[in-house]
Amino acid sequence: MWVVAMALSIGLWSCSESGEHQDYTLDNVNFIVSGPIYEGSETAQYEIVLDESLRGKVVGAKLKSARIHASDSAGLSMLGSVAFSMVGNKADMGGMAVLNPVPSGSSEADLSVSAEADPTVYFEEGRFYLVMELGINQDWDADLSVLGDFVFDLEVKK
C-alpha cells in the first residue's frame, strides 16, 4: 500500500512538473544605439515583461535561435561582433549566444547559441532584459539600429 502511494505521488509530481513545449518568439526586437557612435563596444538592452498567460507557468526554457538583421541598407557593416546575454532583476546574467566575427557584407546573420545556457530562470522571474554587446568597428554619426529575432522553446505547465 505504501509502495503504491509512493509511486502515485512520484507520478503526480512528474505530471505537475512536465509541461507542453511551445515556441516563444520575439521578432524584430529593435536594439538602438544613439549616435554619434564610436569604435568599441556598445551595449543595448531591451526589457521583456512576460505575458500574463505565461507568468508562473514556465518550467523550462531553451534558446533555439538568435538572429540579427539590419534595419536599413547599411546592413550589418558597422558590427564586428555581437554577444547576447540575458539578465533579470533577481536572476544572474548569463551568456546566451555570440557571433564573432560578423560576416562582412551581410544583412542578416545567425548567432551561435550556447547549448549549455539555460534561460529558464528569466522566464520564471517573468521580467528580464535582453542585452546586446555590439562590437562597433567604425565611428558613425547617426543612430545604429539592429533588429533581433529570438526563438525560445518553452516548457509550460498545463
Binding site: I32, Y38, G40, S41, T43, A44, Y46
Partner: protein, 359 residues
C-alpha cells in the same frame, strides 16, 4: 475625500514607476573607447603595487588532501656513537612507505600592498617492514610508529612598488614518531625561515634571491635561495623555480591543465621519541630528492587534482643525538660525527591529492 485621495495618490506615485511592460531601449551614453587610453587616477596620490603572481603560474593551494606512496626499498643502519662503529644492524626491507599529507593555507590579509598567509600541515608516513623480527631497532621503530610532521607556517608578501617585493616565510614543525596521545613536547620543534628580495620584471617574469634557514637536507643548514618564475608569450611553457628547494619546467595545455617536470628537495629532522633505539635523543636527518612528473588539472572550478610520479633519491637518513633537542650546526663542511649512519635504496613513488585552489 476625493481631493485627499487624489493628492495622496499623486504624491505617493510621483516617486514610483509604472509596472506595465516598458519597451525601454536604454542604451549606453555615447562613448569613444579610445578615451580610455587617456586616463588618470581620480586620487592623485594613488600608488600601484606588483602582485605575487605572474601570468600562467600554477594556482596556489588553499586546502590539500593527499596520499603519498613509495614502493619498496632497503634500509641499512650502523650504530656509531661518538663516531665509532658499535653495531651493524641487519638490512631492513620495506615493502612500501605511505601516508596522508594534509595542508591548509588561509590568506588572513590579502590586499594590494600586503599579503599575509597562515598555514598548517600534517604529513604522516607509515613503514611496512617485510622482514619483521630482524635486528634493526630503527627499522622496528619506523614500522611500529612511523614518522610524522605537524607544522605551522607564516608567509608574508610585501610589494614596495610595481616591480619590487619582499617575501618571507617562517615555519615551525614537530617531527618524529610521536602519536597524538603521546605527543612530543614543543621544545623539539624545528624552526625554518626564508627571506628573499625580488623583482616582478613583467607580467611573465619574476625573480628573487635570498637566504634560508632550512632542514630540507635533513639537518640544519643556511643556504642561498633563488626564485625564478617565467611564462612564455603563448602561455604554453614556463618555469617555477625556488632553488634549491624545487625547480620545475611547466607545460601548459590550457589554464586548467598543466604538466610539470622537475624535482623537489624534501626533508626534516625526526626525533625517535617513542621507539626504543640504541641511543637516547636520536634524531633521523631525513633529506630526499624527488625527481618527478606532476600533472595538475581542474576537476571542477577550483577543485584541482594533482598527480605525481617520480623517483625518490635518498640524500640523507643518518641520525644525530640531540640532547633536549638542542640543535647544532654542521652545514656542508662540519666534521661532527654521526650517531648513526644509515642509507636507503631509491624507489619509485606516487602522490595524488585533491586541492582547493586560490583565486
Amino acid at each position: 475625500m476625493r481631493k485627499y485621495l487624489a493628492f495622496a495618490a499623486f504624491t505617493g506615485l510621483a516617486f514610483g514607476s509604472t509596472w506595465a511592460q516598458v519597451d525601454s531601449l536604454a542604451t549606453e551614453e555615447e562613448e569613444d573607447y579610445s578615451l580610455y587610453d587617456n586616463v588618470s587616477f581620480a586620487d592623485a596620490g594613488t600608488k600601484a603595487y606588483c602582485t605575487n603572481k605572474i601570468e600562467g603560474l600554477s594556482p596556489s593551494k588553499l586546502i590539500s588532501v593527499g596520499y603519498d606512496y613509495q614502493l619498496g626499498y632497503n634500509l641499512t643502519s650502523i650504530n656509531t656513537p661518538g663516531g665509532q662503529v658499535q653495531d651493524v644492524y641487519e638490512q631492513a626491507d620495506f615493502a612500501r612507505s605511505n601516508g596522508m599529507r594534509l595542508a591548509l593555507n588561509v590568506p588572513v590579509i590579502s590586499r594590494n600592498d600586503l599579503i599575509i598567509q597562515l598555514g598548517a600541515n600534517y604529513w604522516n608516513q607509515g613503514y611496512s617492514l617485510e622482514n619483521e623480527g630482524i635486528d634493526n631497532p630503527i627499522a622496528a621503530g619506523l614500522a611500529a610508529n612511523g614518522l610524522r610532521t605537524t607544522g605551522m607556517n607564516l608567509t608574508v608578501f610585501k610589494p614596495f612598488d610595481e616591480t619590487r617585493f619582499f617575501l618571507f616565510q617562517g615555519s615551525g614543525d614537530l617531527n618524529g614518531d610521536y602519536s597524538f596521545s603521546d605527543i612530543m613536547p614543543l621544545k623539539y620543534t624545528k624552526y625554518s625561515a626564508a627571506a628573499l628580495y625580488g623583482k616582478r620584471v613583467s607580467d611573465r617574469k619574476m625573480w628573487g634571491w635570498g637566504l634560508a634557514r632550512t632542514y630540507r637536507v635533513g639537518e640544519l643548514n643556511y643556504i642561498p635561495i633563488l626564485l625564478y618564475n617565467s611564462t612564455n608569450l603563448a602561455n604554453t611553457w614556463g618555469t617555477e623555480v625556488l632553488f634549491p628547494a624545487r625547480a620545475h619546467v611547466r607545460r601548459t595545455f590550457n589554464p586548467r591543465s598543466m604538466l610539470f617536470m622537475g624535482y623537489e628537495l624534501e626533508g626534516n629532522s625526526y626525533r625517535m621519541y617513542r621507539s626504543s633505539v640504541p641511543q637516547n635523543d636520536l634524531e633521523i636527518r631525513r633529506g630526499e630528492l624527488r625527481f618527478r612528473f606532476v600533472y595538475e588539472r581542474s576537476l571542477k572550478d577550483f577543485i584541482w587534482l594533482s598527480a605525481q610520479v617520480g623517483y625518490r633519491y635518498n640524500y640523507s637518513f643518518d641520525a644525530d643525538v640531540l640532547p633536549e633537542g638542542q640543535e647544532f650546526f654542521r652545514g656542508f663542511f662540519g666534521d661532527q660525527p654521526l650517531a648513526m649512519e644509515q642509507s636507503l635504496t631509491n624507489p619509485l613513488y606516487f602522490n595524488i591529492s585533491l586541492n582547493l585552489v586560490s583565486p
